[in-house]
């Protein structure tokens, strides 16, 4: 239950990247992680996934983590279809010779939720940026992830792809799910999320989005939400 980050610090090459970050989230929280370039936003997600070493405590309890990194190269070169990627989400770490009927049903649901059903036979390399990100979210959905970490999922997407992605996230967002999303787009604060963590190596603000929008962001020098 929940996600707890306590006294989290990360150093890289002797330099501090994150310093003493503390926050906790519960099911139903959708956290927007804000901050300028190099503030440690992606590092925070990588620490939660366990990709990098850190000091302090991170507890994800019995959550199943779905992580969509900012850069998704590598896999694209392989001849993998959208459907194959999403089906792989059902593996839960164990290889299988074939997928069960249930696995396929789960994958179809995930493809539907991400609006990719008609693209399921496409190779990953032939997808647009937005479709590719949705495909990775679909994989997390198929794996029944309930702690979703998204690193700037809308960067480089056109307006329509963004809106499609917002819709997918709102579908994913349930009372037993936690989402952490890194964003650099102030407009997204209005559209998504209910909590904000603003960092610049250290945490500058953590709390309800409403409180953040009520004025604290100005003092923190983060210009939000131009009308």
């Amino acid at each position: 239950m929940g996600l707890i980050v306590k006294n989290l610090s990360v150093t890289y090459g002797g330099e501090p990247v994150l310093e003493d970050i503390n926050f906790s989230l519960k099911e139903g929280d959708f956290l927007l992680v804000l901050g300028k370039n190099g503030a440690g936003k992606s590092t925070l997600l990588k620490a939660i996934v366990g990709e990098i070493p850190y000091s302090g405590m991170i507890k994800t309890f019995n959550h199943k983590i779905g992580y969509v990194a900012q850069k998704i190269p590598g896999t694209i070169r392989f001849p993998v279809t959208v459907e194959e990627l999403v089906l792989a989400g059902t593996l839960k770490g164990k290889p299988k010779l074939s997928y069960s009927k249930e696995d396929r049903e789960v994958a179809v649901e995930a493809l539907k939720a991400t609006n990719l059903l008609n693209k399921r036979k496409k190779l990953l390399g032939n997808l647009s940026g937005g479709e590719l990100r949705r495909a990775f979210i679909a994989r997390a959905l198929a794996g029944k992830a309930d702690l979703l970490l998204l690193d700037e999922p809308t960067s480089g997407l056109d307006q329509m792809s963004r809106e499609e992605l917002y819709q997918v996230l709102n579908t994913f967002f349930r009372e037993d799910t936690i989402i952490l999303m890194v964003t650099h787009d102030p407009k997204e604060i209005k559209i998504l999320g209910n909590k904000v963590l603003h960092i610049d190596k250290k945490a500058l603000y953590f709390g309800d989005k409403d409180g953040y929008l009520a004025g604290e962001e100005r003092e923190l020098g983060f210009e939000c939400c131009p009308e």
Partner: protein, 293 residues
């Protein structure tokens, strides 16, 4: 004999009811949906969500042990009226399957099924994990909403409050276990395995499962481990564990502290909620583990 009486009763029930299989949610006198749970903790979770919009009945009477409780013949009438039945599973209600099938009930929640893949076959104490409790509470809420959609927002609000309280207790446990010396807790009756695992603790028990009486040899082995760990306290359930605690206390110098398994409550605890008893457990652990800052 008991079984024959029960079967006769079931058939009588069918004769009286004409095997009607009505699924409308208005079987109590008050017209509110009726939730029936086998054991106390689920009754408590259900009550928190149901509030005043649904009625909750727990079959196990005060003082009954969850492990060997069997329903009385009159309980069959209660089950017959139930709109939603909540069971633990994991071998605690061997009587349930047949009866529920005969009664034609389809609205049954079984904690074991909700937690599929996360629980062990030989440990049915799911309710002591705050994490599991939240998941079970959610299933109760979802079912109640389907049953009585008119009060959807009421149940959802109650569920949200309950989930928040469970989360607060959970945070308190994380806090008190984040910086402690010993991660072992010694209990007389094994029940806290899931709860302990949630916080990186390890439960060492004198007795496991349904074993009624510990032998002198069991106690010796248990106390050896207890001494080796330089532990100070043994936890016992004040409702069910007094006799065993006395037996251990006769031969060993050991301090006892109460830790409720919530397998059942007696008259002294009746009226205390699941949340209150879990809170008391956490306060006790705070004293013993010395996680206070």
């Amino acid at each position: 004999m008991k079984r024959i009486v029960m079967l006769v009763l079931i058939f009588t029930l069918f004769a009286l009811s004409g095997c009607s299989n009505a699924r409308t949610a208005s079987t109590t006198e008050s017209g509110k949906p009726l939730i029936v749970t086998s054991i106390y903790p689920y009754g408590e979770l259900a009550r928190e969500i149901a509030g005043e919009k649904a009625e909750v009945t727990v079959l196990a009477p005060p003082g009954a042990d969850a492990h060997d409780f069997e329903p009385k013949p009159s309980d069959l009438f209660t089950l017959r009226k139930a709109d939603l039945i909540i069971l633990n599973g994991g071998g605690l209600e061997p009587w349930a399957r047949k009866i529920i099938k005969l009664l034609g009930k389809d609205k049954v929640i079984e904690a074991e099924k909700i937690l599929e893949g996360k629980v062990k076959k030989d440990d049915p104490h799911y309710w002591l994990s705050l994490i599991f409790a939240r998941q079970i509470a959610k299933a109760i809420k979802d079912n109640l909403v389907t049953l009585d959609p008119e009060n959807k927002s009421y149940y959802e609000e109650n569920y949200r409050k309950l989930a928040d309280k469970l989360y607060e207790l959970h945070l308190a446990m994380v806090d008190l276990t984040s910086d402690i010396k010993s991660r072992k807790i010694f209990t007389l009756h094994r029940a806290f395995g899931y709860f302990a695992a949630d916080y990186g603790l390890q439960e060492i028990s004198l007795m496991s499962g349904k074993e009624a009486e510990a032998t002198i040899g069991d106690i010796e082995k248990f106390m050896k481990e207890f001494s080796a760990e330089d532990a100070e306290y043994v936890f016992f359930d004040p409702v069910f564990g007094k006799k065993v605690a006395e037996k251990v206390g006769e031969n060993y110098r050991v301090k006892f502290m109460p830790l409720y398994t919530l397998e059942g409550v007696d008259e002294t605890l009746k009226g205390k909620s699941y949340l209150e008893l879990m809170q008391e457990n956490i306060e006790t652990l705070r004293l013993v583990l010395g996680g206070d800052d």
